[in-house]
């Protein structure tokens, strides 16, 4: 009778592993914020700006790729049409005519399309920057699917633990300088963050009694241990607002993990702010976030110095029109339209941020070694 599956009773929380008495709130890559960026800004105590910071906007036309449009088109066609995988794609219902049953299609799955396009564009960006500053190859690393990033801290009488999922990361030997000088950081204590009453920002976290607390940067044992940019691939059908909120929280988590290692025991304002960049890639659009961490005190949302966030959403590379066979024009195949090269230039600017400093610092170090 003990092995009969008809009378199976699942184990309770006390019998599962890692049981603790005090509950905690867990964050995951699948946590969908219901209020979007407003909820994320309240959690991370950050002031919101739209657009790119000035230090990055000056670098837009600095880096060039020869035959830009031809190479970008080649990367797009390679990932969408030329690849030879043939798998059954998921069923599709169009909201315009939901009762029409569309035939099953065979083609390239979403994961592969995303990976091919995004990593091709990254490779092109790397070559463009290395043509001007060749010493970057020794001061930077590109890691695919890093593992083990996690933090935890207390937030108003409750424990939060973050387990971050990142698809690719660029790390460097020297940390990024702050986007904004120190005078604006001190004046930010007077600005206000919009409140979320009666909701708390941990409404979408999972509350459990079985958890493990961990604080680590995934790539701390190599020479390049400061994060420069993070790349997230959006494999879901979320809105742009929710994707940007996820990017903010991963940037915050990684910065806090770094702070706990370098300044253990700190509670309030940091001596030097930490900055992280995040790129959000989906099939056709790219989003950028730039985060600067000034304090760790997330409990008081009114008093004290605040962090900064810049959001740049909705940069559409190309449009993808899906087939609608009930129409008279007979749109029977997917078509790609309206190529726009502006988001690619923004990508070059973010990846090439502070390339001069790294180039000069590596040259300086090598000259010291020669002497």
């Amino acid at each position: 009778l003990a092995d009969d599956p008809r009378f199976y009773v699942p184990p309770k929380g006390e019998e599962k592993k890692n049981y603790r008495e005090t509950p905690a709130f867990l964050y995951n890559r699948n946590c969908r914020f219901i209020e979007g960026t407003k909820q994320a800004c309240f959690l991370t105590k950050s002031v919101r700006y739209d657009g790119m910071p000035e230090s990055v906007q000056q670098l837009i036309d600095k880096f060039e790729v020869p035959d830009e449009s031809r190479l970008v088109q080649k990367a797009i066609l390679k990932s969408q049409i030329w690849d030879s995988t043939r798998e059954k794609l998921p069923k599709r219902r169009d909201p315009e005519y939901p009762r029409y049953k569309i035939d099953r299609e065979y083609g390239i799955p979403l994961e592969k399309r995303l990976n091919m396009l995004s990593f091709d564009l990254l490779r092109m960006a790397d070559t463009a920057i290395a043509s001007q500053y060749p010493e970057i190859g020794r001061s930077r690393r590109l890691i695919f699917y890093p593992n083990g990033m996690a933090t935890f801290f207390k937030y108003s009488d409750s424990l939060l633990s973050f387990y971050l999922g990142i698809d690719a990361a660029i790390t460097s030997t020297s940390p990024l300088p702050p986007f904004v000088p120190e005078e604006l950081v001190e004046s930010s204590s007077s600005e206000a963050i919009p409140s979320l009453y009666p909701i708390s920002p941990t409404i979408d976290f999972l509350k459990t009694n079985n958890y493990n607390l961990k604080n680590s940067i995934g790539f701390s044992e190599i020479s390049c241990k400061f994060p420069h940019t993070l790349i997230l691939l959006n494999n879901d059908d979320w809105s742009e607002d929710e994707r940007q909120a996820r990017a903010l929280v991963t940037a915050m988590g990684l910065a806090v993990a770094q702070v706990k290692k370098t300044y253990p025991g700190i509670k309030d304002r940091l001596p030097t702010p930490i900055s992280v960049q995040v790129i959000n890639m989906s099939e056709t659009t790219m989003n950028f976030t730039y985060f600067q961490l000034n304090t760790i005190d997330f409990d008081n949302s009114e008093a004290g110095v605040k962090n900064f966030v810049w959001f740049d959403t909705g940069n559409v590379l190309f449009e993808r029109r899906l087939p609608q066979p009930w129409k008279r024009d007979k749109i029977l195949e997917t078509s790609l339209e309206n190529l726009d090269l502006d988001p690619f230039k923004k990508l070059l600017a973010t990846v090439g941020n502070c390339a001069e400093l790294e180039d000069s610092s590596t040259q300086f170090k090598e000259k010291l070694i020669e002497l």
Binding site: R6, I34, P198, I199, S200, T202, I203, F205
Partner: protein, 295 residues
């Protein structure tokens, strides 16, 4: 193992409790789902359209659950109602009709986050949250995203100004208010007026009770402590849209009836007889009781 034989008895129009034949099939999911379904006193050919698969924890979740259609079949697997069958696969959302506990004089405030139609029910669903808890409730007629809703359990001497969406006990509402999701027994959860477009009206107060007029024009007397929300349920015009034909009904889960002539009874036709007048009987006095110890 002991086999318990099942029996079916019919007296008039009611069906007593049916006990199913045990171990009819060993398929696990079907077995579990059938064990959880019990019949109560119902009319003869009654079978629900389906039932959901509840989580094994028994806790409340906002996630969509699967909904298994009955197909007109009874617990014993035979067709009892031949006019039910087919229909699309839908998600079933757990709707919370219970009223939460609130502090005194201050109440509980909740914010409306999302509104979307329910694939099975006629009323719309609203996602609502406070603190760290989210739940689904019935959406009233003029609900919008971003509204704030209050629940109060106080009964002051002067009646409260009734705002749409707020929930109060019946003793605190003024006469003439329109109300839905009413409790019959305080603390049990809303039972009355939950379908699309339904609403009840508060008529008068007599002694310890409040008299309401229901959508069937019956009158009912309930205690002061029963909770209700102010307003009319959403999606009021869902009855007025006619069906386009048999095909649309079949794709929704209704099978056609036979063309053979059936005898019409007193159940068919328009109801002309007026309702009985409503009389509130006073509550009988409570006598003091003493317990005698047996020596």
């Amino acid at each position: 193992m002991a086999f318990i034989k099942g029996f079916i008895c019919h007296w008039g129009d009611t069906v007593l409790v049916q006990q199913r034949l045990l171990f009819r099939s060993y398929r696990l999911a079907a077995y579990r789902s059938r064990r959880k379904f019990k019949t109560e006193r119902r009319p003869f050919h009654y079978v629900p359209k389906g039932h959901p698969v509840l989580p094994p924890d028994g806790k409340y979740t906002t996630e969509p659950l699967t909904y298994i259609r009955s197909g007109g079949r009874d617990l014993n697997g035979k067709v009892v109602n031949a006019k039910i069958g087919g229909g699309p696969k839908v998600n079933w959302y757990m709707r919370d009709d219970h009223y939460p506990e609130a502090e005194e004089t201050q109440g509980l405030e909740e914010k409306v986050l999302r509104i979307h139609p329910d694939p099975i029910r006629t009323a719309h669903l609203a996602l609502v949250g406070t603190g760290n808890h989210k739940r689904y409730i019935i959406a009233h007629q003029n609900m919008k995203e971003g509204d704030i809703i209050k629940t109060n359990r106080d009964i002051p001497t002067i009646s409260v100004r009734a705002m749409e969406g707020n929930s109060h006990p019946l003793g605190a509402l003024p006469m003439g208010t329109i109300v839905h999701n009413i409790e019959k027994i305080p603390g049990e959860g809303g039972r009355v007026c939950r379908a699309g477009g339904a609403s009840a009206q508060v008529l008068r107060k007599v002694g310890d009770k409040v008299i309401l007029r229901l959508p069937s024009k019956h009158e009912i007397a309930l205690s002061f402590n029963c909770m209700a929300t102010v307003g009319q349920v959403s999606n009021s015009g869902h009855d007025d849209i006619p069906w386009k034909g048999v095909g649309e009904k079949m794709s929704a889960g209704y099978r056609p009836r036979t063309g053979w002539h059936h005898r019409k009874t007193g159940y068919h036709g328009k109801k002309i007889k007026p309702k009985r007048t409503f009389i509130v009987k006073p509550t009988p006095p409570k006598y003091e009781t003493y317990k005698l110890s047996g020596d």
